[in-house]
Symmetry: C2
Subunit: 165 residues, 2 copies
DNA sequence: GATTCTGATTGCATTCTGCAAGCAGCATGG
DNA sequence: CCATGCTGCTTGCAGAATGCAATCAGAATC
């Protein structure tokens, strides 16, 4: 499975890590959906990923340093997946990609409101969201000056507001 | 080849257009490398794309509205591919993705200097670059106040400066 | 008329994908 | 204790996608 890279171009190397049909969706569900366990990623997947594909992608993402896995202290046979800083640092990429998709592709209103909000929030909002993810996944305390509703809660609230119509 | 989309999520739909190992590289070569013809894309490809794969991806990109194709007036059997506004609008995505790759992956110095410059330039530089692409591909005159060296020339000069070492 | 260049197609082997089924280890309810 | 279900993950298998090499016809060039 370990092959040499085709070129040292940043975009090419990024594609070799993320350029398939599922890896980025797994990261999306962890980043925006707060999923941490195999079953959550499997059953709550909007696109219906197969279990063997999910297992393969999780292994890949761990191997490429995007995720770490550790046993769940509360359930001995459970595994918790955590985002690494490398993965959290994808937030601006996902924000731009989601924004582009919202502008040009036939997205559904309820699923695109989050991309819209994140794009409108700009780098300041992205940074705040990344700080929240660091706290959640890397146990890095966030700046206590950042009070109020979390970014993910705000995104989720907006989603529910649109979806209820 | 025409299949329904898995979900209306912006990131998912974007991946269905761009989420394979080659499409984004073709667009990268057109946007940053200024390639317009089949042979340029084929022979000057850093990663060595095969001709049938290139043909397949070009067809896909035309079908999804990322490119247009028109006969070359100077050579009757030649085809010129042009970026659409939808593709030009990918510049911020590519800038973020290239920046991420430069920060986290083992990129080569000479191939990452452009990503570095583009990231450092920020949205202002991206907009200028996009204006240049619109002039080149869509015949939309750029603001004459934007004088001086073009963004692509600047990126290319930086690449050559690093590569010569 | 031979050669070259154009974009694209074909053959064929390999890899990827995904659905269904099943696995062992652990927890829980009775 | 035993039956049941949940945990993450693996296997079988068929079909689709992918990629490399070789080749193609049409047009321009020499």
């Amino acid at each position: 499975m370990a092959e040499g890279s085709r070129s040292g171009c940043p975009i090419n190397l990024s594609l070799e890590v993320l350029g398939d049909r599922w890896s980025l969706l797994v990261l999306r569900d962890m980043i925006f959906g707060g999923r941490r366990h195999f079953r959550e990623l499997l059953n709550d997947s909007e696109e219906g990923i197969a279990s063997n594909i999910l297992a393969s992608r999780l292994k890949n993402l761990v191997d490429t340093g995007m995720l770490t896995r550790q046993p769940d202290p509360t359930h001995r046979q459970k595994v918790i997946y955590s985002l690494t800083e490398q993965a959290i640092d994808l937030v601006p990429v996902l924000a731009q990609l989601g924004s582009w998709g919202t502008r040009w592709l036939p997205v559904s209103a309820e699923l695109s409101i989050r991309a819209q909000l994140l794009a409108d929030g700009g780098p300041a909002l992205w940074q705040r969201f990344m700080a929240e993810l660091r706290e959640e996944h890397l146990a890095i305390p966030a700046d206590p000056a950042l009070d109020g509703q979390s970014v993910r809660e705000r995104l989720q609230a907006a989603y529910l507001a649109v979806a209820s119509h």
